[in-house]
């Protein structure tokens, strides 16, 4: 039987600078990507129709799969931004840009014999902009609330800032990955980012508690915390990867985007917790406290 064991890392072989360098370097690259994206497109990430406005149609197509795409494009006069295939149900998700006439799309769908109308959602551009602002406020408040709580729990600066910094990086790196992989920001991805705040803090709190509040030397404590923490993160990772895969296959977009972003975030969290956070804690334990 395959057994899953958490590998033991010999942290004594690496300096704090080496340990922290990798996650900070990745974070810097991520920030650069977001900045570059902002400079070229006017937004740090590509916004989906929830935020820009637009119309999304869902149809089943009665045609050989090779011809479905062309059939859809011929049916509509409006400009199509993307066509996405849902393997399990054979449906297609057709996204139109903002300011298209949803009524026209509906009637064109109804009169096309080979298309079976399954669903339509339309978001007015102004409404999308409002949602965008609300979402941003929500994420910022959630992050600030989490930070305050972490400082209240640990009451020391370095361990607390370690948690907050690693949570911040857990949000930024998945956002940059979204840009690279062409995933648009949607209501579902915002939900995922908020879940990430919760998930990423779990393993950080665990590590901090073990190192700061338990007897035993730094390396023993870290080792114990890692055994539990990595198990936790890998379990969540497995669940989210499985959910992302199934939901993508079945075309449940909300669950698919939540799953995908969490997979990115949890992998990032492994790196941040056990490289960035560990190095900050070690510095604090051996040098910071002495000061």
């Amino acid at each position: 039987m395959v057994e899953f064991t958490v590998p033991e890392v010999d942290y004594t072989r690496y300096s704090n600078r080496q340990l922290a360098g990798v996650p900070l370097g990745v974070l810097a690259v991520a920030v650069l990507i977001l900045a570059g994206w902002y400079a070229t497109t006017g937004a740090p990430v590509a916004m989906g129709i929830d935020f820009t406005g637009g119309t999304q149609l869902r149809v089943a197509v009665d045609a050989p799969s090779g011809q479905a795409d062309a059939l859809i494009r011929n049916t509509f006069d409006e400009r199509i931004e993307s066509i996405q295939f849902v393997p399990a149900s054979g449906e297609y998700i057709v996204t139109f840009g903002p300011n298209v006439d949803a009524d026209a799309i509906q009637s064109q769908t109804r009169s096309a014999e080979q298309l079976d109308y399954r669903g339509l959602s339309e978001v007015a551009p102004g409404f999308g902009a409002d949602v965008q602002r609300t979402a941003l406020i929500g994420v910022v408040i959630a992050f600030l609330g989490m930070s305050l709580l972490v400082f209240a729990l640990f009451r020391t600066f370095v361990p607390s800032i370690a948690v907050v910094a690693s949570a911040f990086s857990d949000l930024i790196i998945p956002l940059a990955l979204m840009d690279l992989l062409g995933i648009q920001l949607s209501i579902g991805t915002v939900a995922a980012l908020l879940m990430l705040i919760g998930y990423s803090v779990d393993s950080d709190i665990l590590l901090n508690t073990h190192v700061l509040r338990r007897p035993g030397d730094f390396y023993e404590s870290t080792d114990r915390a890692m055994k539990t923490g990595v198990t936790m993160t890998v379990t969540s990772l497995a669940a989210m990867a499985a959910m992302a895969l199934t939901a993508t296959l079945f075309g449940v977009e909300l669950l698919a985007s939540i799953g995908t972003i969490l997979v990115f975030g949890l992998v990032t969290d492994l790196m941040n917790t056990y490289m960035l956070n560990v190095s900050l804690l070690r510095w604090y334990k051996y040098e910071g406290v002495a000061r």
Binding site: G145, L148, V201, R214, T231, T235, A239
Partner: protein, 513 residues
């Protein structure tokens, strides 16, 4: 020595699971009208059952903080309406401080105009408001919500829901309308209808020796005491109405004066000659008719209009017009419309809803299986892994019980919330397991308690951060995310207070004998 007192946490979990199963499956708990499907009492929202949902602001502007003595509100309304081309006086209203429960007057313009047009019209009428904001006053908003709800109910659709939500990000009120099992066109038609009904007397009048045909408004929405459902007769579709007692004499007088109730009745010659009655619904003529001799005679003799005879029939050109007329007369005229072009409309077909329900279930099951496999591989010891997965599932049962108990209409966001809770739940169970099972056997109860307390500290901290992270969304009404946040918070609370501590006790029983 396993008494209930030692294992009260497990007992509490068993009781909670039993209550949840009762809420989920007991036929006594299901409400008949709810759109519940399958063997459980769970209700499904639009995304999982099909239907149309709309979220949009109301049409209109409100000028607030107006100092005014209230002496002649009609004159003020006329003055503002005159300065806004195309806006009739009935779409302009002064709202008194008493109505709004505030210290100043407000003025509503319930029409599609620009902010600057409203500002200049209001100041042109001699008023100086503090602000002009989009939207209408609270009483108008509440009235609109009630009438919209009535309209949906009168159409015969079950389970339609209209609510007003406040969007924190934009400081605006939005109206959400959710109508299960209705398609987009049906719902848009229903909502786009302002519902203003007029019965006009089209009649000839003598002007300088020539006969000119004009309209006189004889009845409007508020003049009816009773309105029937749409009916079908050999002559065509109609709605039967009873005119209010205080309105009847005036209406009878109108009928006689305009010659519609003339000796031998009248035939309708609209749009050329001959007096007749026109039914106008939102500016569109939906019915035109003359008067039968018997009714005309009854009006002339004064028999019609007495206490027990004020019935009248409104025939329409087709049945759907009769239905629309009946709904509008019963629900009333909307004070203002929904600005659907500034909002969002989502339609989910019944096919898509049913498959989304199944697919979301499959995705959740796959996630649980993945968790089970990893936990099984990690611990190898089934005494730890099996109760861990079972406790995680118990948490899901509690949440489903909660959902059917409060009658939550489940959507995809709620499913995402369930999955998030399973995730944090299993994380916490791993913390408990590792803490209790660490090297050095759990020899005494004291050691167990101390380790358990340490685990709970970490779990409590993690749960608190999750709740803090989710709470802004629970109050912000950001589309679907509100449901997601509420489910996550409730789930984390149930987990931290009930299921996760119980797992500690289960482990103690398994390892300490």
């Amino acid at each position: 020595m396993s008494t209930i007192r030692d294992n009260w946490r497990i007992a509490l979990l068993i009781v909670a699971v039993a209550v949840s199963l009762f809420l989920l499956f007991s036929p006594t708990m299901g409400t008949a009208s709810a759109a519940s499907n399958g063997p459980t009492n769970l209700k499904y929202g639009l995304q999982l059952s099909g239907g149309t949902s709309i979220r949009a602001p109301l049409v209109g502007w409100t000028a607030e903080g107006i100092q005014y003595d209230g002496s002649n509100t009609t004159a003020v309304e006329d003055a503002v309406s005159d300065r806004l081309p195309g806006v009739p006086t009935r779409n302009v209203e002064m709202v008194s401080p008493a109505t709004r429960g505030e210290s100043s007057w407000a003025l509503e313009v319930r029409d599609n105009v620009t902010k600057s047009a409203v500002q200049s019209a209001v100041s042109g009428a001699g008023l100086s408001p503090d602000t002009v904001r989009p939207g209408v006053t609270k009483p108008t908003r509440q009235e609109t919500v009630t009438i919209l709800q009535d309209k949906i109910d009168e159409t015969g659709i079950q389970g339609g829901q209209v609510r007003s939500v406040f969007s924190v990000g934009t400081q605006r009120h939005l109206i959400t309308v959710e109508v299960p099992s209705a398609n987009r066109t049906e719902v848009l038609n229903l909502l786009n209808d302002r519902g203003r009904v007029q019965v006009l007397a089209y009649h000839g009048a003598d002007r300088n020796g020539t006969t000119v045909y004009t309209n006189r408004t004889t009845l409007t929405n508020d003049d009816f005491q009773r309105v029937s459902v749409p009916q079908q007769s050999a002559q065509g579709p109609y709605v039967s109405v009873v005119v209010k007692e205080q309105v009847a004499p005036r209406f009878r007088e109108d009928m006689i004066q305009t010659g519609i109730a003339s000796q031998g009745g009248s035939g309708c010659g609209f749009p050329r000659e001959g007096s007749c009655l026109l039914i106008v619904n939102d500016g569109e003529i939906v019915g035109q008719f003359g008067m039968e001799p018997s009714l005309a005679n009854s009006m002339r003799s004064g028999a019609w209009g007495s206490s027990n005879q004020r019935t009248f029939i409104l025939p329409t050109g087709n049945f759907s017009a009769a239905q629309r007329l009946s709904v509008n007369l019963r629900a009333g005229e909307l004070p203002t419309g929904l600005a659907i072009r500034q909002g969002t409309v989502e339609y989910v077909s019944p096919t898509l809803g049913a498959s989304a329900r199944l697919n979301a279930l499959v995705a959740a099951i796959v996630a649980v299986l993945a968790v089970s496999v990893v936990v099984g591989l990690r611990y190898g010891d089934f005494r730890i892994a099996v109760p861990m997965v079972l406790t995680g599932l118990a948490e899901v049962v509690l949440m489903l019980g909660f959902a059917s108990g409060v009658g939550l209409a489940l959507g995809l966001s709620h499913i995402a919330g369930f999955i998030a809770v399973i995730g944090t739940g299993v994380d916490d169970l791993i913390i408990i397991a590792d803490e209790i099972m660490q090297e050095g056997d759990v020899a005494t109860d004291r050691v167990f308690r101390s380790r358990f307390r340490k685990a709970l500290w970490v779990i409590g901290g993690a749960a608190a951060t999750t709740i803090v992270a989710m709470s802004p969304l629970a109050v912000m009404s950001l589309q679907d995310l509100q449901g997601f946040a509420i489910v996550t918070i409730v789930g984390v609370l149930l987990g931290v207070l009930v299921t996760r501590p119980a797992y500690g006790d289960i482990l103690r029983n398994l390892v300490m004998d």
